[in-house]
Amino acid sequence: MPQNETIRDLGLDEYKYSFVTDEKPFFKAQKGLSEEVVRQISAHKGEPEWMLEFRLKALEIFYAKPLPDWGGDVASLDLNDIYYYLKPQDHMERSWDDVPQEIKQTFERLGIPEAERKILAGVGAQFESEMVYHSLKEEWTEQGIIFESIEDGLKLYPEIFREYFATVVPPQDNKFAALNSAVWSGGSFVYIPKGVNVDIPLQAYFRVNSEQMGQFERTLIICEEGAQAHYIEGCTAPSYTSDSFHSGVIEIIVKAGARFRYTTIQNWSHNMYNLVTQRAMVHENANMEWVDGNLGSKLTMKYPSCYLVGEGAHGEILSIAYASDGQHQDTGGKVIHAAPRTTSQIVSKSISKGTGRSSYRGLCKVYEGAVGSKSNVECDALLLDETSRTDTYPYIEIDENMSSIGHEASVSKVGEEQLFYLMSRGLSEQEAMTMVVRGFIEPIAKELPLEYAIELNRLIELEMEGSVG
């Protein structure tokens, strides 16, 4: 399969991306978190005064908020043992040729420019704390689309930026949103003008390379009325013995009649704490979809949310989690129905293997007055070993009687009969098991762009190796 050869180069499986690039950073802040570090970040970015004030305020909020006492074991992450800011070069490139050789090699091994040439409308690449590359195809620039690093968004479009920034995820929202607000660096600023339909995806790639590195990207996306776009992010890092930390904040505003899809394929190394706040505000008759694939990391806590604030808004969350030995995927989604005739759907599939643990955590809230709202939640968990574990924690809060809300969840192991049947058709036990798991994730895999879907299947195959016997 020649197609598979190039796809393999995208490097989603951990055997491919475990390499380390020999970096020579332009600037590296001292280890640990302090007001000084926050001031340094702001100074290096040449920010306006209000942003520095925003950061310092957020730092106070971060110190004041307690760690969550639910979800995964966050307490074992030593927040003082992390580098909060590492600037790989002194400016961002718009031409791939100008990106420093070492960093370029990293992304070439991950297949980024190649992917861009083939299928994407625009590509951003973040290395450590900064976007090192950001480009948008000319045809889209002409239509008024903005696809910039978040820093350039603030510099070049200060008014739009300030109007929306932190209105979807304020720093007070949770401890890690506060942390991100204090030390944010990198991420994308995306603006899709009214009525523009970007029919091929925009993609951002996030790479953490150094040991004990913290990455705090911040993305702000505004999808104007009737516009359409799809944004994909992929994340990888090499494995170290010490822990790394990724805590992003994604804010999306989907205006009336617009459609937006945000896809994450997270394949961080197994020493990564991945604590992310992703939230969209969805207006009248707009449509927001989160496709969330969590395969890597040591602990992920991530619940993409749709705040359905306009009549007829629709939110959809497709979530797939794979937890193998030592991993805890605490994922799910939130839908908040705050306007009449809003609809939502959450489909979650998780697989736990070895000592892995996957937890679904979700919220469905219907406010009084959100008449005619409908929500449906389905969670399926597959357990592969007697040591693996799964939990389901949905919160359903309904204040409107003229609504209809359903939630179903099931837990199962791979059925003996299924295996027996497949094996009677000549498959080995290993192959049969893999086929069952593939079938299980199929409803979500088919929502992924082709190359990711194939890669996901490949990854499952690799993970399943040695799972039998």
Binding site: A381, D391, I398, N401, A409, S412, K413
Partner: protein, 457 residues
Amino acid sequence: MAEGTMTGDTRTDTESAPAAGADAIARGLASYVRSVYEPTLLTRLRREGWKTFVDTPMPTRKAEEWRYTDLSTLEPESYVPVTCEGERLPVERLPEPVREAMESDRDRAGVMVRHNGCLEHLRLDSALEAKGVVYAPLEEVADHRPDLLERFLFRSDVAPMEQKLWGLHAALLSGGYFLYVPAGVDVEHPVHAFRYLDQEGSVVSTHSLIVAEAGARVTCIDEYVSPDLERESLSLNGVEIFGADGATVSYLAVQQYGRGVKHFSMQHSNTGRDSTLNGFNVTLGADLARADVTSHLEGEGARSEMLALWFGDRNQHFDHHTLQHHEAPSAHSDLLYKGALTARSSSVFRGLIRVAEGAQLTDAYQTNRNLLLSPNASAVTLPNLEIGADDVRCSHGASVGQVDETMLFYLMSRGLTRKKAERLLVFGFFEEVLERIPGEGVRSRIRSSIETKIQAR
């Protein structure tokens, strides 16, 4: 009365409350303990409960278990513990609702009536007595068979967030019964207890201890009734059920308190090898009713069926917490909780299926359905799973919605008024739970209570 009062220091600051309230309760408790003769076993359990209560902080809404029911407004010291003095009332002088209820079910193996915690009436089929069945007040058993009582009383594994109230319940214990069914004995008819409360501003704390030895079979019904009260009363209740190997216990609690009552029921069933528990809860009364229903499936092949229904009106708040704890392999549990809400009432269902490591071949199901009949009613449902074994079949489902419009229009097209059609659909909704309730008399009384609530809409 003054001596028994707990109305001591009025709390202003809920955070520092336990110490201040503790004093007042201690005084009330001391006088209560002095006023009744009590065997040492109960006094010891009372003091242990008391210590737990004092040492445990009052749960706040920050605790998941108490997120939707605010305990900070509960002031245990503001209620007067009930005391029992004087003679028992003859049956004909029992409160009207109790007599009516007693007459509605003819076939009973035993009956007990408590009025404000005090024993007024007790009867057990003499044939059963001859077979070694015990149905007696806790204090009596503590006197004659302390060894037997000590094996079971307050022996359930109580979750940390339940301990504050469990401790208070033990400390203020104002009566309870012990039902003991020896191995192999089959008690054909239900054993029925009525608890009637009409003392204004009081706290009553009742306990039901049910033990079925190997292969025994028994059905047990507890009913809670009161008129509307002017000054709020507090009802605490503990239930412990122990089913030994192969035993079958059916347990039904029907709560139909009037206004002005807060009711906290903590129910623990412990089910042994191949033993079956059928548990039912019917919640219709009180302003605030909270039930913590825990099923410990301790023996291989244990089975637990958990059913409940509630109908909330005015500003009633019902909070049901359940745990299906699969501690042994090959056990089966099935939960179905259904609630309808009208006016400004609200309900919470929080249910957890927990499958321990090694509890292979578990079958566990959990369903919560909510019907919202008015724009101001609200429901919260939290069906949780924690699965630590892989060879299991577990699922849960939850829904919140209104009566089926299509059905409604169909019935109305057949000439029914909207109100009548709705009534029919509400009963249709409850039917799968109602039809499994043991005891024809009690079942029809539940139906008519629901009927009254529907009519009052």
